[in-house]
């Protein structure tokens, strides 16, 4: 337990004061880690806490990013309209997909979310008049300028992101510890028993799916502002499974795990691709080794039963 506390303190320290001493390249990486951590944590609500393995989770992230991109460029919408609409589009999509997938479980859930995610990817790829196809949409204004903040630059954006991350993280932590969150874990462990105790398990799974979609949308909005452009790679299968890897590598059902996982993948990706073009090969090996060596994730390595 003590080791874990120290890790959390160290992580908090790096996230809080790191950008004050790091150069803009590393601030950029930290920003990526924090945004993707929100996304990975949102998947963790589904995958880790509810036991619903979604392989299409990047779809909501991508849809929210596209909504921000289309509104802020084509329609020149103001900041709050873009942000609210981005989150609304991603969440609405999750609400629609949730209706279809909430009564299936396990491998079926995996396969159907995969197919739904790919369908949406196909739409972003081919619906060229709106999405710009393979080229995506560029020219999204910087968040600082769009929101009319008095400060600008990578560090300013990072701290905005960090505030969003802390808010989302705190909300998710409250959620998974609430009676609702405990019910989700109950469903993960034994759905039939929960149902016989009188819980509406379909509704719980559905809400879990929509809530996870909403947090993924928040991450999508931040990502659109971070990159300044969107492209179909945001919602493809590789994105969804990388996300999956972040959660399983870090440790499902822990919330800290996905942050670690996101950090590991982002750092590995950027550091390795500086040295070699064979990044996919290495990522492939990481998948295989991670599953063989730490099937329960880094955060659960000490043998603690995941919460």
């Amino acid at each position: 337990m003590a080791v874990r506390s120290w890790v959390i303190v160290a992580l908090a320290l790096v996230l809080a004061v790191g950008p004050l001493v790091l150069d803009s390249y590393w601030i950029g990486l930290l920003t990526q880690i924090v945004i993707l951590a929100i996304l990975a944590m949102s998947l963790d609500i589904l995958l880790g806490y509810t036991g619903l393995p979604s392989l299409g989770h990047a779809a909501f992230f991508g849809a929210a990013a596209y909504a921000v991109a289309v509104l802020s460029t084509t329609y020149r919408a103001d900041f709050w309209t873009s942000v609210v609409a981005g989150i609304a589009v991603g969440t609405a999509l999750a609400a629609a997909f949730g209706l279809i997938v909430s009564h299936v479980r396990d491998v079926y859930f995996l396969m159907i979310t995969l197919a739904l995610g790919m369908v949406l990817w196909g739409l972003s790829y081919r619906w060229i008049p709106v999405t710009g196809g393979d080229n995506g949409i560029s020219g999204i204004p910087s968040l600082e300028a769009h929101a009319g903040l008095p400060v600008a630059g990578p560090a300013a954006f990072y701290y905005v992101t960090l505030i969003v991350f802390v808010l989302c993280g705190a909300l998710m932590r409250v959620l998974v510890r609430s009676p609702f969150g405990l019910t989700l874990r109950g469903i993960r462990e034994n759905e039939a028993r929960m149902r016989s105790l009188g819980f509406n398990t379909w509704l719980h799974c559905y809400l879990s799916f929509v809530i996870a979609g909403a947090f993924a949308s928040v991450a999508g909005v931040m990502w659109a502002y971070y990159n300044g452009f969107v492209s179909p790679t945001y919602l493809d299968l590789t994105a969804s499974s990388e996300l999956f890897l972040m959660v399983t590598l870090g440790g499902p059902a822990t919330l800290v795990g996905p942050l670690l996982g996101a950090g590991a993948i982002v750092l590995l990706k950027n550091v390795m691709s500086a040295y070699t073009a064979r990044w996919l090969l290495i990522l492939g090996i990481v998948y295989i080794v991670a599953i063989l060596a730490a099937p329960k994730g880094i955060w659960n390595l000490g043998g603690r039963r995941s919460g």
Partner: protein, 284 residues
Amino acid sequence: MTYFITQSLNGLFSAALLFLIASGLTLAFGVMKIVNIAHGSFYMLGVYVAYTVVQRTGSLLLGAVVALLVVGAVGFVMQRVFLRRFPSDPLAQMMMTMGFALLFRDLALMIWGGDPFTLPYPAGLRGSLEAGEVVFPSYRLFVIAVAALVGAALWLVNAKTLIGARLRATVDDPEMASAIGINVARLSGIVFAVGAGLAAFGGVMGGPILGGYAGIDFDLLPLAFVVVIVGGMGSLKGALVGSIVVGMIDNFGKALVPELSYFTLFAPMMLVLALKPTGLYGRA
């Protein structure tokens, strides 16, 4: 009317390719409950291996045989060495196949480079057949016929042989099957290898028209998954019906509303899932 017939035949050609890919996917799912992300990679490896053989020897037939055997062996090793360590953990298996999918894609890029290519047409199938006003490439008809033959052979094995009976028993209830002495682990390896080989064979069949390029693995994978979802996971008959439904809809969708291709697959999937969540021929 001519347009309609031509497009339907094109749809059947897509269905034929999809059936070759999806039959292995659905059988592997039925026996092992595995969601195989690397299944599209088997198709891709098939095209590339055949390409090398054709360049060396000039024979597409030899290319098809070698591709089937090599990729089948790759699938067998993958199942026996890696996947079977996680017999009751579909998530670990899925992650593992994802790792292999990335590995195969990068290896293919390393070995064969990134330039797209097509396989040559087999001799005598270059032209087209004419019936009244309908002109249709004979190679596409050939592929439809081959897929029909493969389907018939699979059905025969499944329905009339001892190994087919074991297969059906395992799909129905793996625990019970192993309790009455069926070697489920070995059967899984065989099914996985056959599925990989069939996907590779599909790659060779599609090679003269779709060719090979980086990314073809993930282009076809969603279509194969929709086939399996619509037809019912684990069902060979479902794979056949699903292939035809998806092949037709995808083809007409691409012809009529090109911007919405892929998205047109949404409709059949929704409809089936709403009415019968296990797919047309699947069992819960």
